[in-house]
Amino acid sequence: MTGTSRPTDDTQQFDATAVVRVDHPVIELEDVRKTYRTGSLAVEALRGVSLSIGVGEYLAVMGPSGSGKSTLMHILGCLDVPTSGRYWLAGEDVGAMDEADLAHVRNRRVGFVFQQFNLLASMTAQRNVELPLMYAGVDRVERRALALAALQRVGLGDRLEHRPGELSGGQQQRVAVARAIVTDPDLILADEPTGNLDSVSTADVLEVFDELHASGRTVVLITHERDVAGRASRVVRMHDGMVVSEEDSVVGARA
């Protein structure tokens, strides 16, 4: 978290095949602000957030409703762009990108896990997991193989042909996790992933995140549950659009 190795070459074009240099942090935010305007009303959702997340970190973002953690997540996931400030994702300045470039970045650099699972009901688990690969232009045979591997990794190798409606909540969220990791992204971004799950399923899904972390993935998890945050290696607390504290996990991973 040195923040000193900021890329100087921030005009470089996005290149899917570029090897991510390990010396870059995965995420580098510099005084990021976000203001939403609804009519004449301006809401400052982020008021100058600076944050650096290194490769292989497991970071939890905590904060009450309206603290700006969802806005932060949208900006981290390139679903939205900052009003001001700069954001480097895996060494690339994403602040200046257009809609199509952002789509490519989301496709290749970020894996999303949502509170609502967001699986397509008409598709089987396997087809859902294949979806980001389809947008990446991966051919069908390779797509099937990668989707199978990702589903096996989350323990659903035997549920390939099930549709979301035929799976439990925990299983659906594990399909979503498989979809997030199938493109081998630089960053896995989870927004309240256990918010809609019972305690057994929550444990299931968090187990998967632990394993991902253990295998060297970078995970950012947004939650308001203390014990969920407790599994992370670092916790960032937000309040009123600002980071109010950063601490290494005090609870201990398996308390």
Partner: protein, 414 residues
Amino acid sequence: MNALETLRTGLEAIRTHRLRSGLTVLGILIGIAAVILTVGLGEGAQAKVSSEISSLGTNLLTVSPGSSTSSSGIRGGFGSASTLTIQDADALESKTVAPAIAAVAPTTQSSEVLTAGNSNWTTTVVGSEADWLQVRARTVTEGRFLDSQDVADHADVVVLAPTTAEELFGFEDPVGQTVNIAGVPMTVIGELDSVGSGSSSSSTTDEDDEAIVPITTAAQQLFGGTSRDSVQSILIEATSSTTLTAAYQETEDELLVMHHITTPADADFTISTQQQLLSTATSVDKTLTVLLAGIAAISLLVGGIGVMNIMLVSVTERVREIGLRKALGATPVLIRRQFLVESSILGLSGGVLGAALGAVGTQVLPSLVSQPMSLSVAATVGAIVIAMAVGLGFGVYPASRAARLAPIDALRNE
């Protein structure tokens, strides 16, 4: 994401909403079937009319009286009917005046009751001359036709068409028998051939049911009228189809002289060719076809609006899905393409099914409505292309809306 996958995604979306997609397709289907059926009906009618008219002969001219609207604006049909006379016809028969004219037949006609013994029959009595047979391209199967002597003598003779003969005399030979026409006893001298136009719907007279008498006899003894020399029309046959224009010119020049008219625009007669008749008849049918096709086009437009409506509903309903796809890496271009493919598929399936229904219709309908119909390949292919274009065109706006959705707004939607 390649074209095949875009297509597959579109098909999946359509399959997911079967009923809705089916109803949308139905809208297009009806529009396309209507287009094909109306075009088929119009073309069938045109083909029928032109075959009927060309069977009458192509080197025929018809002179009718009372062409131009008079300067006073109002002119009765009766007055105008007397502008042509037997003398006009006689003048045209001169080979020096009109070398391009092969035959001239002045005609008058009226509906009369014919009686023979206990039978009576109402039919069209035509007064004409010997050339009538040649001009109308008819032949006599029994006896003989009128000759110039009959005309000169105001002879009380008649030639019957086959249906008329049968109605009056059954299967007896009519030649030599006597028929009363308007109280005047006439001797049957011949019977015409049959042209088999019994079921004709567009001809005003049945050519197998008429009686031909000398025009002089008709004028003096049968029809009466103010001017005994006036005729209702003069039929003229040119020497060949290549001299038709010359015959037209000679007729016009001679009649202008006869009527003491200096400018052709003031002519009190009209000369029409079979070609003109044909084009008039077909243009009437064309107008009808355009009208029907216009109605069909409107129904297609309504179908297109249906597609747009459904696609807009689909976009609104699938806001979350669109947001998710965008979060997973779909670019606006891909989203737009996906929705365009979906609406094109709806349009295309409507087009293909509509064309199939139209094709079946052109086979089945003629026997039900007794109207000829022809299936035009060009119209069918065109209709399918139009249907797809309608789907595509009316899909542009909904697809653009989908593409413009911001991913966070889309995902936030509950």
